[in-house]
Amino acid sequence: MNMKIIIAGIIIVAALVFGAISFVDTNVEYTDFQSAASTHKKVQVKGAWLRDRDASFDGTKSQFSFYMKDDNGKEVRVVLDGAKPNNFELAEAIVVKGRYQDGYFHASDILTKCPSKYEADPASVKKTL
C-alpha cells in the first residue's frame, strides 16, 4: 500500500512538473511592440489596425501585410501568414501573435475582436429607428 502511494505520488509530481514546464514554455506573453522588438520569444500584441495605411495581400507568399498601432501608440508593419481574417474590417481591436524581426512583426496568428457590433450601443439603436 505504501509503495502504491509513493508511486502515485511520483507520477502526480512528475505530471505537475511536466505541466508547469510546458506552461512556462508555451506561454505567450502580452506585450507591446517596444518590448516585442527586444525579445526573440513569441509574444502577442494588442492594438488597432491603421486603416489609412497600406494593407495588401501577397498571393505568392500568401501573406497579408498591414500596419498596426499598439496601445502605446507605436506603429509597426505586421506581416501575417495567411489571408486577411474574416471580420477584419469590423474589428475594433486586433491581437497579433508572433515574433518581431527585421523591423516588422511576423504574425503567425491573429484574433479580431468585434464586440461593439453585437453590443448594444446608442449609435446603433438610432440607426434602426
Partner: protein
Amino acid sequence: MIGEIFVKLAFTAVLVACGGYYYTFTRGNARSLNVARYAYHTGAVLILSFCSYLLYLILTHQFQYTYVWNYSSTDLPTPLLISTFYAGQEGSFSLWTLYTTIIGVALMGYCAKRGYESEVMFVWTMILSALLLMLLVKNPFELIWNTFPKDLLRTGPIGPDVTNFAWVDQAKGIWAQFPVEGKGLNPLLQNYWMVIHPQILFTGFTSMAVPYTFAVAGLLRRDYQSWVKVAKPWTVFGAATLGTGIILGGYWAYETLGWGGYWGWDPVENSSLIPWLVCVSSVHTMMSQRRSGTFVRTNFVLSILCFIMVLYSTFLTRSGVLGETSVHSFVSPGMWAYWILLGFILLFGGFGFGLLLRRMKEMPKIPVEHTIYSREFALFLGAFAICLAAVFITIGTSSPIITNILKGKSSAVDTAFYVKTTLPLGIIIALLAGFGQLLWWKASTAESLLKGMIYPLISTVLFTAGLVAYGVRDVSMIIFSFSAAFALFVNILVGYRIFTGNPKYAGGAIAHIGVALLFLGFVSSARYDDKQTVSLPQGQSTEILGGYTLTYIGERPIDEERFGFDVQVQHGNEQYRVLPTMRISAKDNTMMRHPDILNMYTKDFYITPLSVETPDGKSGESIALLKGESKTLADDLKVTFVDFDFNDMQKGKMLEGGAFTIGVELLVELNGKKEAVKALMKNSGREITYIPAKSSLSDVEFTIQKIQPNKEEPAKSRVELSAADPQKISHQPKVETLVVEASIKPYINLVWMGTVTLVVGFILTIVRRVQEARGLNEEQESADF
C-alpha cells in the same frame, strides 16, 4: 412586462418546490412532497410560458425589446429567427433554464420510482433557481427604452410621421420611439448549424448537473453506494450529448467557418471539453464502484466536479475574464453576472465538497481487493489519465487568470501547450482502453492477458510497421498510432465476442472502438495534413499538392451577398467541381470565406478562397518617393511628391468607419512645363479604389500603391506609385486571379466515424444501464465479456 413577471413567478415557484423537497426529506412529510411537486410543475409551466413568449416576441419582430432588437432582424429565415433565441447571453441562459426544467420533469419521475425524489429534486431546484436568478439579473425582456433612456425617451407631442412609438407614461406625457429593424444575427452564425449545435450542447451542459445532483443526494441520504447505479445512465447520457455537441461544433468550424480544422483549442471549445472529460472519467469509476464497491470518494468528487466545471467554464467564457485571448469575443456581461457566476461556483462547490468532507469519516472503507492486473486498476488509471488531461486543459484555458495572479499581467498559452500535455495522456488512455478490456475484475493472470492480446498485438505491430513503411517518421505519432491501433484491435475482438453473445453489453467495446478511430483520425488529419496556397489565373491549370490540377473557371454570384468561385479539380482520372464562396454582408461590409470540401473516402480536399485579384492594368513602373523628392522617368517626365491631402480624413469620417479619401499631391514636369495633379485612394468602407493622377503633359498616369504618412516627421512621409501609360498596357489580356488555400486532410473521415461509433456505444450503454437501474435490487451483473 409579462415576461419579467413570469420569470419572477417561476423563480418563486421553484423556490417553493425547493423548500418543499427539503421539508420532505428532513421531516418525512408526504404533504410537503405534494406541495413541492405542484410548485415544480407550476414553475415548469411558467418557464415554458416565458420561453414561448420570448420566441413569440422574436418571431413577431418586437424590436421594442432590447434582446430581440440586438440579435434578430426581419430578413432572417424562420429557422434562423428561432435560433436567435439563444444567440445572446440572456437567451442562452433561458435555453439552459428551459432544458433544466424539462430534464427535471423526467428526473422527477425517474427518481420517484426509485425513492430518490426529494433529495435529488431539492438539489435540482436549487440549480434551477440559480439559473432563474441569473435571468432576473440579465433580463431577456428588457425594454429598449430602459436600455437607452437618453436616446429613446421623449416628451412632448408625437410627430405625425412617427408610428413606431409606445407610451411609457401617458399621464406624464413620456413616450418612446422604438426600432423598426433589428441589428440581426452575426453572419458567422447564419447557417443551419446554429439551429442544431447549441441545442445539443446545452442539453449536454444541462445533463452534467445530474451526476452532481445524485452525488449530493447520496451524501444527504448517507447512501454511498447505490446512488451510483441510479446516476449511471444519466452520466452516460451527459457524456453522449455533450460529446455530440462538442464534435458538431468542430464539424461546424471545419465545414462552414473555414478555420481549416475542427479543433483550435479555443477557450470556448475547451470549456465544453473539460466537463466532458470529467464526466467520461466518472463513467469509468462509477462502473468500478458498481462492480466492486470501490472508488466511493472518487465518484463523489468526480460527479460534483462535472457540474462545477460546467459552471467554471461558463464563468470563463461568459464573464469576460479571458478578455482578448479568445476568438469568440464575448460581450462583457457586466459586474453583476460576473459575481453571480462566481457565487454559483462557490455555492455549489462549497455545498457539494463541504457535504462530502462532513460525511467523509463515516463512509465505509472498502478494502481494496484487486491486484494491479485487474480491470479495476486499469479503470482507475484510465480515469486518472482522463482527469489529468482535464486538469491540463483547465490550466491552459485559465492561463490568462493564472498569469494575471502570478505576474500581474495576463497572457495565454499557445495551442502547443495542449498538444504537448495531452499527447502522452492520449497514449496512456489508448493503451488502457485496450488492456482494460482484456483484464478481469479483481485479478487476471498474466496468461489470460497474454492469450487475449496476442492477435490484437500482432495486428497492431503490422499496422504500425505499415505506417512507418508508408512514411510516418515522427516518433510520438508512431507511438500514439500504435496505442490507438492496439485499442482498436482489442476492442474489435472483444466487441465481436460480446456482440455475438449479448449485443446489449457491447456498448463499452463499441465506444472504445470509436475513441481509437478518433485518435487515429487526429493523427492523420491534423498531423499529416498538407497545405498549399496557390494563385490561380482564370483558365490556366496549376498542379498542386502532388497530383491535384486546379483550374479556376470563373466567378458567379449565388445570391445578393454570396459569390462562388468555380474551380475544377482534376485528380488522376477523376474530375470534380468545387465552389468555395465568399460572402460580403450588405449590412456591414464584412467579408467571410466559406470553404468547399471534396470528400473522397480516404481524404478530404479542402479549399478556401483567400482573395480575388482583378487586373487593373496598372502594372507599370513602380516608384517610391519621400516628401519633396523628385524622380525622372523615361521620356524625361519628372514627378515630385508634394504632400498628402488628408482633408477628408480630418472630418473624422475615417473614425466612423465610413468612406474617406486620401489624396497624394504630385507635381509633374515635362519640357519645362509644370502641372499639379492629385492621385486618390478612395475607401468606401467596403473596398478601396485608386484613382490615378492624370496630367495634360503626358499619357502617363500615376496610381497610389502604398502610402506611409509620418505625422511626427512629415519629411519622412513616403509614397509608392506606379507610373504607367494606359494606352500601352491595355492590350494585355485581363485575367482574374483567384488565390486559394488548398489542403488535403487524410482520413479525416475517421474523426467523424469515430464520433458516431462513440455515441452509438454510449447509447447502447445507456439502454443497458437504464434496464439495470430499473431492477435496482436485482443483481444481473454478468461479466462484461
